[in-house]
Amino acid sequence: MMTGIEQFLADKGIYYLTFLLLSFGVYGIIACKNYMKKLICMNIMQVAAIVFFLSLGQKKGATIPVLIEGLTNADSYINPLTHALMLTAIVVSLGTTGVGLALLTRIREKFGSVEEDDIIRRQNKL
């Protein structure tokens, strides 16, 4: 009963959108001039990686990975391994954002601005 669109989405659509999100994140890191925006795009990129991992672990018609008395066979539960890995990835992204913001504060203090061209101009003066 999978309609044409769902079949396309399941096969390639979701992955395509995830990688699109990822590449926009990377594009944002490179294209944005403001360091704060770069940090936000970095977070978005990491969320895209997490979504990709989770979509790998999907099973059709399976419940959340908490054991229920009645159910024992493996097909009825979502793959728990990807969730465990992704908890790590989320916390890593928080850690990186924390360090990034600490750096940002010191850069703002030292160079007076967080725009890339101001920093490069003032950096050579130092």
């Binding site: 990822l22 990129m45 890593v92 030292k110």
Partner: protein
């Protein structure tokens, strides 16, 4: 107790770092001494572990006691036994080196500095000994975070370099994570041993190809391979004086070791697209060797010069992977271990000169060999080894790489090897000329040192580096015999 060594080698520095901040509140140097103790113990254990692996075969350690594919596993064989021992030793002597850079004023800063170094070393130790794809990602992140902090501590220009490195490093980490994800979707496990068995069964070429490309991109960025080296020179020039040796000498090379582990142990060289990928990597490596040396010739800032020359050295290690014959792999591994001490040693010298005279510009190095004999001895030893003069380790690693290249008929790499070692000769003899011969600039000591050339905490790491450069030269046959049987099975 010995079968616990693989885990304890990584856990001890971790616990040392965790406790150091709390202990520093009790007494200024208690945290620091605990970290020294834990690093010394971990180095001792890595030596015992290496000895045990050489005697009775590879060791493996399953965390949590479950069967292989279901829990995380450390697999130590001669190759990464050597790498772990080297990282532990470099970590220990760098920690000693950081004593001179201590800021006595604030308790927090003292304990924190050593905690970051200990975490950095623990991350690299784990990276070298882990045999689980996702576990490597987390160790990569620990190393990266500690590296951002160490670069940022190197002064205000270090901040910008650290921030830029952080952005690029996170992109690299995400690429590696995607690669692991695709491998997981194709094979179902995260354990590399299990993964290679499933991949050898075949039928997964496309997924493995995409995963390999992503990993090469990710690990290439982390190890500043040629096309992705943008962040590296500025990072190495402005990083914190004490730990520059660790970052430039060791951290840049661990991702290349991981790439070796993936390309040769997980995918195996009979993988369909392997030859094309090795050709592409070969082009990167070739250009990288030339580019690094040429850019290094024109530099006047010693640290920037060493940063560019470490691009060449990383591509030497990649050269072994690209050539593919077991002898070349063994040679590039020997180069990896030797170069950590050479590059580390040279960064110690740059830091020492900056500590004593406050300058990093080569032009006013005039005739410092009278005041700093040990530093200039290490620079000469490093220079000889970079060029490849026999008693030092550089010659022997070049010998094995060249032999591997000729055996597989890839003569272009022998020519590249010769040209890049000559280019190295140019800028190293430029430094030697400045140190030994150019007129004395009469630099006066920025920081008064009681007696002798430098505080003992700097002299000890430097003399260890000199000894190891020559020691590895003499022991190279033992190391190669130790490593070769393992590579033979893997390589061809």
């Amino acid at each position: 107790m010995i079968q616990h060594y693989p885990a304890l080698v990584v856990i001890l520095p971790l616990c040392g770092a965790a406790l150091s901040l709390a202990l520093t509140k009790i007494h200024l140097h208690l945290g620091r001494n605990v970290i020294f103790l834990s690093m010394a113990l971990s180095f001792y254990m890595s030596i015992m572990q290496l000895r045990n692996v050489v005697i009775n075969g590879p060791m493996e350690y399953r965390f949590g006691g479950y069967a292989i594919p279901y829990s995380i596993e450390f697999r130590i064989d001669t190759v990464n036994g050597l790498v772990v021992a080297m990282v532990a030793l470099m970590g220990l002597i760098t920690a000693f080196y950081c004593i001179s850079g201590e800021i006595r004023s604030e308790k927090l800063k003292v304990g924190g500095a050593y905690a970051v170094v200990a975490l950095f070393v623990a991350g690299m130790l784990g990276n070298a000994s882990s045999a689980d794809a996702f576990n490597m990602y987390v160790f990569l992140e620990i190393t990266a975070l500690a590296a951002y902090c160490l670069i940022a501590l190197g002064g205000n220009r270090g901040m910008v370099a650290a921030f830029r490195y952080m952005l690029v490093g996170t992109i690299a980490g995400t690429f590696y994570l995607l690669g692991v994800g695709i491998l997981y979707s194709a094979t179902g496990t995260l354990n590399m041993q299990d993964m290679s068995i499933i991949i050898q069964q075949g039928g997964k070429d496309e997924a493995v190809l995409v995963a390999l490309c992503l990993m090469i991109a990710g690990l290439g960025i982390k190890s500043a391979l040629f096309p992705f080296h943008g962040w590296q020179p500025s990072a190495h020039t402005h990083e914190e004086r004490g730990s520059a040796a660790l970052i430039a000498g060791v951290m840049v090379k661990i991702p290349v070791y991981m790439l070796f582990r993936f390309v040769y142990c997980v995918f195996g060289t009979n993988f369909k697209y392997m030859q094309q990928i090795l050709i592409v990597l070969g082009i990167f490596v070739g250009i990288g060797m030339m580019y690094g040396s040429i850019r290094a010739i024109g530099q006047t800032n010693m640290k920037k010069l060493l940063a560019y020359s470490s691009i060449t050295q990383t591509s030497y290690f990649m050269l072994g992977i690209v050539i593919g014959s077991p002898v070349a792999l063994a040679g590039s591994l020997l180069h990896f271990i030797g170069d950590a001490f050479i590059k580390g040693g040279l960064f110690y010298c740059a830091g020492a000169i900056k500590y004593k005279f406050g300058t990093v510009n080569i032009d006013n190095f005039g005739r410092i060999y009278k005041k700093m004999p040990v530093t200039s001895a290490l620079i000469v030893a490093g220079a000889l080894s970079m060029i490849g003069i026999p008693p030092t380790v550089g010659f022997f690693s070049k010998w094995y790489i060249a032999m591997g290249a000729i055996q597989t008929g890839k003569y272009i790499f022998v020519i590249l090897l010769i040209i890049s070692s000559l280019l190295n000769a140019i800028y190293f003899f430029k430094i030697i000329e400045k140190i030994f011969m150019s007129k004395d600039k009469g630099l006066e000591d920025v920081r008064p040192v009681k007696k002798g050339e430098l505080p003992w905490s700097m002299l000890v790491p430097m003399s260890v580096c000199i000894v190891v450069i020559f020691l590895l030269g003499f022991l190279n046959v033992k190391i190669i015999n130790m490593v070769l049987p393992l590579l033979k099975g893997v390589g061809m």
